[in-house]
Subunit: 257 residues, 4 copies
Amino acid sequence: MGEDPFRVAGTTYLSRLLVGTGKFASHQVMRDALIASGADIVTVALRRVDLSRAGEGDVLDFVPAGMTLLPNTSGALDAAEALRLARLGRAATGTGLVKLEVTPDPRTLAPDPIETLRAAELMVADGFTVLPYCSADPVLARRLEEAGCATVMPLGSWIGSNRGLRTRDAIEAIVETAGIPVVVDAGLGAPSDAAEAMEIGADAVLVNTAIAISADPVAMARAFALATLAGRLARLAGRARAGGATEASASSPLTGF
Amino acid sequence: MGEDPFRVAGTTYLSRLLVGTGKFASHQVMRDALIASGADIVTVALRRVDLSRAGEGDVLDFVPAGMTLLPNTSGALDAAEALRLARLGRAATGTGLVKLEVTPDPRTLAPDPIETLRAAELMVADGFTVLPYCSADPVLARRLEEAGCATVMPLGSWIGSNRGLRTRDAIEAIVETAGIPVVVDAGLGAPSDAAEAMEIGADAVLVNTAIAISADPVAMARAFALATLAGRLARLAGRARAGGATEASASSPLTGF
Amino acid sequence: MGEDPFRVAGTTYLSRLLVGTGKFASHQVMRDALIASGADIVTVALRRVDLSRAGEGDVLDFVPAGMTLLPNTSGALDAAEALRLARLGRAATGTGLVKLEVTPDPRTLAPDPIETLRAAELMVADGFTVLPYCSADPVLARRLEEAGCATVMPLGSWIGSNRGLRTRDAIEAIVETAGIPVVVDAGLGAPSDAAEAMEIGADAVLVNTAIAISADPVAMARAFALATLAGRLARLAGRARAGGATEASASSPLTGF
Amino acid sequence: MGEDPFRVAGTTYLSRLLVGTGKFASHQVMRDALIASGADIVTVALRRVDLSRAGEGDVLDFVPAGMTLLPNTSGALDAAEALRLARLGRAATGTGLVKLEVTPDPRTLAPDPIETLRAAELMVADGFTVLPYCSADPVLARRLEEAGCATVMPLGSWIGSNRGLRTRDAIEAIVETAGIPVVVDAGLGAPSDAAEAMEIGADAVLVNTAIAISADPVAMARAFALATLAGRLARLAGRARAGGATEASASSPLTGF
């Protein structure tokens, strides 16, 4: 797949599966799953990182070498808090990449469109490379692109819900006109969901909960990696059109004998 | 995956993706796609085979060596015709394997439950190893198993329709109690469909049209192979449960700092 | 709606909502819900009827006068048992109408296609007017029609599951060619499900559980009645076509001013 | 239904179906459909209204007497344009009600979350009673409520697409916490869609295209009216829970005889 790189802000990655680090039973299981996922980009909640690095066993110590760290602002309730977290993270980790999350609704953890756009503008102005978690909203996606974001990351369904790709039409609309990569983030609960997102044209997917809380996170990480690649291949190959509700088409046209 | 073999009638296969041979633009493209699919079992319509083998360029000449041929009775309108086709095929190909298809409805090519069961009984009595294409019907599946079939092959959606897994509840019900392999056959239009079928417990899937009519059948064959494996891995790993419609669950539980 | 009668076996009914009598909290609640439903046809399990009529409080005593009783063979495990039940019912109730049910699978209560067809043939030969509960299977539906059934009653989803119309493609295929009324029976869990079944061309729907176990069965019965009529009106009016996944069409074309 | 009023900004309405006036074949057909719909609230694009009222045959002349006019800002590309339209409309029609629409994306006509909120704030400050068309976004809905809007009107699917309720989870989330009425607006293509929106707790629905472009708009209007009422009744009655994918529950529990 060297001929099909995934580019974000000028950097090229091989894998189109991004993974998260929350909810794993242990740091070691997380590490094994990250390796199995083949991911190049790993997101970590800034609040969970021991930024002083004084202690032992910090989550960052278990992220395999060579993976690109993508700090996120999980838990931020407004733009100001997100910016503060991002700056602390940059100071501690040295990376200007940030996954922007502003999620004031405690039930759905749905992203706040207003504060997310505001934070994106502030972060871009401050030199960050911004990957915003956002509603599956084509107008907002356009505005985030215009604000200088490196990707848009529209939701498939609520964070951690494993409900799959419940925003399909909107993702298709975003994909049609986006000039930056579209990464479907949140809610993908099974490899089939990741494949579906890729088939409709997402450039990448981000998965955390479905891997982390599986009975076998390592196998599930590998499953998502394969499915993401499958969906990408299918997108490039040109998916066959579906027929009408009452139309079949013989696979084996008969020639008689 | 040597530890996860797919067994049919006492024989072990590595791949859980079965493929068909209809609708390809050329025999050579078909051959390349079959190889890319990694399939162990390849189905061929008996009517399309030049059983006399007198001519050149027969489809069988393009099936890669080492693949198991699964002749099918595509086009049969009743049990008697299916049996006649199966016997001709056995005489010509030497295999007792048969994919039983009785599809009298020209619109949907839906399988006939009555004639399919009758044909299965006749074929089993005649020594065939029978893999019947059937409705996604848990009672019929049970009866086909009791009749001595080697698998059941319930439909996902109409043959060639690419409409995906539109019989999900019924497939789940069949999987729960079947004592023989369940192979979802027909209608799977994208790799995500194959992954989904495997995630809910199908033992294998059969795909033809979605590969054959893709703009790039070789890439699409590989995509289905990866997705089928992904779905199987996810099934074994234990899929995470989905949450309620309005419930999120933070991927990154906060610990503060 | 006098200009849109629902005909079964030569008799004309006004309502296209058929209702069942199981699972109600009391006979009186059932009676009130039946009245609210506006149904003309009411199905009763023969096993629940006190055929001797010796006792008091039999369910039949609570069926409003003027409604057509449709005895069903609920619980029958094969054709012979269904026929025996039907005959007992006819002797006791005097009607030759029978809702044929043969459901040997205790999990799904899915109808047995083989025994259902056999029972239908036996019952027709014995003079019954047969309304068979069946799989959503277009070939079986055709065979039941050829056997002389008065309707076909394909399932929407498993009995009592309230999962809705999960067999939509198959119902559409049955509707396209059926020469007898198509009544979607089982699984319709909300008025929207009943409306959807009618919109795709069902002639009628049968609802029991969703009404009976609602907190307010009388209101729910009325809701199903309205939705069934709504779906029918929409079918006759010609439903508007849906657009593509990323296409809008302004409701208010602009003329400027 | 006098005991179940629909209140918007202190006014009580009987019908929970709001209708639009675009796309009808003629003003007379529109008028007949509006009457058949039983709607109390009718939306009209300000740009289509001949505000000078100098001409004849203006759409307003065909809105039945007694219906509440809800001018909308259809076609506005930003908050300033929406406000200007609203003010012109108020001057011409005398009503302070406004359906706010800001839809800069010509493909999807998706509402702009940023400009919609901005316009809502400006309009509320200017004394309007604001009913905003918006994304199905629970955080935005909350913000619009906090800005003083009289309702929120989240989309079911793209305007005029007839794709139905493709934002179900988000609508459920909005319904759970909204302190103002939730009116599902846009994309409802069949009466079953309207019923479904009401069943999950919407307070009302707005339908235009599906009625206007039906072959029989009058019948379709009546169908939507019935389905909306059916969905509301079902919501109040308490919808029955759906069972698992492989679980049935006999409607007719057997007592033997």
